[in-house]
Symmetry: C2
Subunit: 434 residues, 2 copies
């Protein structure tokens, strides 16, 4: 997509500011770190800021999956379960994710969707909690599926669910709370919750800490072991670039594994799966988190995708993520018409994940504003038409995800520029029609 | 693999019988039906009789998945959820499986593993059953995972589990039985259970019928609607050739869908998934069986694999399946040393699935027999080394699966021939060592 930068239909940013930002983007992209990791992905000239929904395709994936299909499925067939390592893929790939989430070996297993892993973690956690527990806490700002599933798990165990804002958890937890399920980064606002302090507060009350890492793993350092987290889940198709619907993972802290009792004790978690015994005896360790036959194509695509982390320090990822989101926020304030967008993502670094969410208000005279139409949704649709891909989350959030391995500062600058254009064009069109 | 048919080390079958069987195989292969469907698969000169564990690779899969990765993931990225139909894949592919299991539209949804679908079906069924129910029945000969998961589901709902042989279900069901979970075909023996009569007996007692179709769908006619089955699950990587760990499916009878309440109410089953509402409101229909984000690569491989059914009548599949297994049993009795193998698969057609399971006893003087070693396991390992792939199920079963779309009568004859050789060689080696 070529960039036009035509004369805007309504007053736009000053030329000097735009020139300065463009030069700065080029300098930042040249300076590094992570100047070459973009080459590990298949990308084009779209500004792709939706890696927090579906990560871009790593170059390591297509040939690997072609080989899995042609040779492992097509020629070895059933022998691949042993000879090609299919059977042990869930734990092998778990070990490749472990360093990205601050987990020593033997605590992460891959398989099933995030929703299903939330069910395992919440039910397993409730079963480990004290007998007198009557409730669980769920992050009031959670991605919906976590809340739905936690409610189902709690109901099946006879416990109540209390939604609590993450910042209030330390005050709200009681000795009757079995566990709290908290999102590390809020999917909507991009706010980063403090894993160390919230986990410590929960532990002080004798409560288990269950974290959802969907929007943090791969974008910033996660320190499960160091924070003493009890259970965690995460998806792999966002910042881990595993592909559409690639399997999620479950973390069970080493010292809790012996007490972890899955509500989904499928044959893959049996101590002797091919013994075909009618009675269930769980395997040792985190293998207890396995359920049924793993979806090998999706799982091996994830494994190949994880090759992009070769030689990457997560601290560099974090540094670039913050620099990118800082720069994007600066460019937005330079380019966007005043009063139309407002960041709901915290400016403080310690409270920011790797996305910027802009609440988008209707322009004063626009038709959309007058009709109460979904302005933000329309803005995002137009951004996408103009080659800047983020996403929309109701009611009014424009969400822009920054994947430090491949997002450039030039991407950030161009996204802000196009956003400014779209907002001005929309206002102008609204004015024309009004 | 070339065939040697050397002079056996111990007395073998008569030449005339072997000649007759080989000629008959060629005639049967030429006669049809399903003489050309083998070309729809990637096969070599291995005799592959393990399609009841992992179906062979359909030729329609590799290019389709390469395109999904290159174009849909690599270029369209997030847009593919709508533009490439990813979001609706679970129900769209469900409709492609429906005719193979005798289901009218709107009752089958694809996703997750079989184990997880057993959990949905059993818990959902218990919730629909009468308040006074205290137990569920589980097929005593079930594939283990069904039993493990059913036990977990029943425990969470406060019900007991009673294992019952399928043939005894009509006698054992009581008004306190919420449901019975039955395998349509026994994974070990290949016995086909009578869906119509067992379902009718359950309904007479006011009990729900939940069927596992893993070993029947794609190998013989399944008549879910006609039998009035309430809930069913099945895998897609056996006779449906969907690939390693391809997603399973759930059937919920139309008239029960409004009462079906999933224990795994993930956001994909919400009436408005992108509304991101904190409260859960289920979608209408079988969509309630969806959970989290579907594993697209595995799911679209399955969709491509289902193209092999184009123009195939399941009645022809059944006719060829019975002819193949009849012929294999004849060849085994012609070629195998007397007393070494015995079919545990019923000879009666109405009680036979699409596999032959041979219980394998130790030869009289063999080392293995003397040492009590796992004879059947060794026999199968040697068969595989000689290019005949079946599998072994403890304690003593050699399992040979027949996939009518690609298994030939020549395959059946050669498998029996090589089995005879292996058994004679093993006996001879045992004699030498003794």
């Amino acid at each position: 997509m070529s960039e036009s930068r035509e004369t805007p239909k309504s007053p736009g940013p000053a030329a000097a500011g735009a020139r300065k930002a463009a030069i700065r983007a080029a300098e930042l992209d040249a300076a590094g770190p992570l100047t070459t990791t973009r080459e590990r992905f298949v990308l084009d000239d779209t500004v792709y800021l939706d890696g927090n929904s579906l990560g871009a395709l790593p170059r390591s994936v297509p040939d690997r999956i072609a080989e899995v299909i042609r040779h492992e499925w097509g020629e070895l067939r059933i022998r691949s379960w042993t000879e090609a390592g299919w059977w042990t893929a869930p734990e092998r790939i778990g070990e490749k994710i472990a360093p990205l989430v601050g987990a020593a070996p033997g605590q992460v297993v891959v398989g099933d969707s995030t929703s299903i892993n939330v069910f395992k973690a919440v039910t397993g956690g409730i079963r480990m909690a004290g007998k007198g527990c009557t409730e669980i806490l769920v992050d009031a700002t959670t991605f919906p599926t976590d809340g739905y599933i936690a409610r189902s798990a709690a109901r099946m165990a006879g416990l109540a669910v209390r939604p609590v804002e993450p910042a209030r958890i330390a005050d709200e937890v009681t000795e009757r709370t079995a566990l709290a399920l908290v999102n590390h980064v809020d999917y909507r606002t991009g706010e980063l919750n403090d894993m160390a302090s919230i986990t410590a507060a929960l532990h002080s009350a004798g409560t288990l800490a269950v974290w959802d890492l969907c929007h943090s793993a791969g974008a910033l350092p996660v320190a499960l072991d160091a924070c003493g987290v009890d259970l965690a889940v995460g998806c792999t198709y966002k910042y881990l670039n595993g592909g559409p619907g690639s399997p999620a993972y479950l973390y069970v802290r080493k010292s809790l594994q012996e007490r972890f009792e899955s509500p989904l004790p499928g044959w893959n978690s049996h101590v002797d799966p091919f013994g075909m015994e009618p009675g269930y005896t769980p395997a040792d360790g985190v293998l207890r988190g396995r359920v049924g036959t793993p979806d090998i194509l999706s799982m091996l695509a994830l494994e190949a995708a994880l090759e992009v982390w070769e030689g990457v320090a997560i601290e560099d990822v974090r540094a670039k993520s913050l620099a990118l989101t800082d720069f994007f926020l600066e460019c937005v304030s330079e380019y966007a018409p005043p009063g139309r967008v407002r960041s709901v993502t915290p400016y403080e670094h310690r409270r920011r994940g790797s996305q910027v969410s802009l609440a988008c208000s209707p322009g004063g005279s626009s038709v959309a504003a007058q009709g109460g139409a979904p302005v933000a949704g329309e803005v995002m649709a137009e951004l996408i038409r103009r080659g800047v891909v983020g996403d929309f989350r109701p009611p009014d959030v424009l969400r822009f995800g920054f994947t430090p391995l491949y997002t450039t500062f030039a991407d950030a600058e161009r996204a802000a520029w196009v956003l400014g254009e779209v907002l001005r064009d929309q206002a102008a069109a609204g004015g024309d029609a009004g």
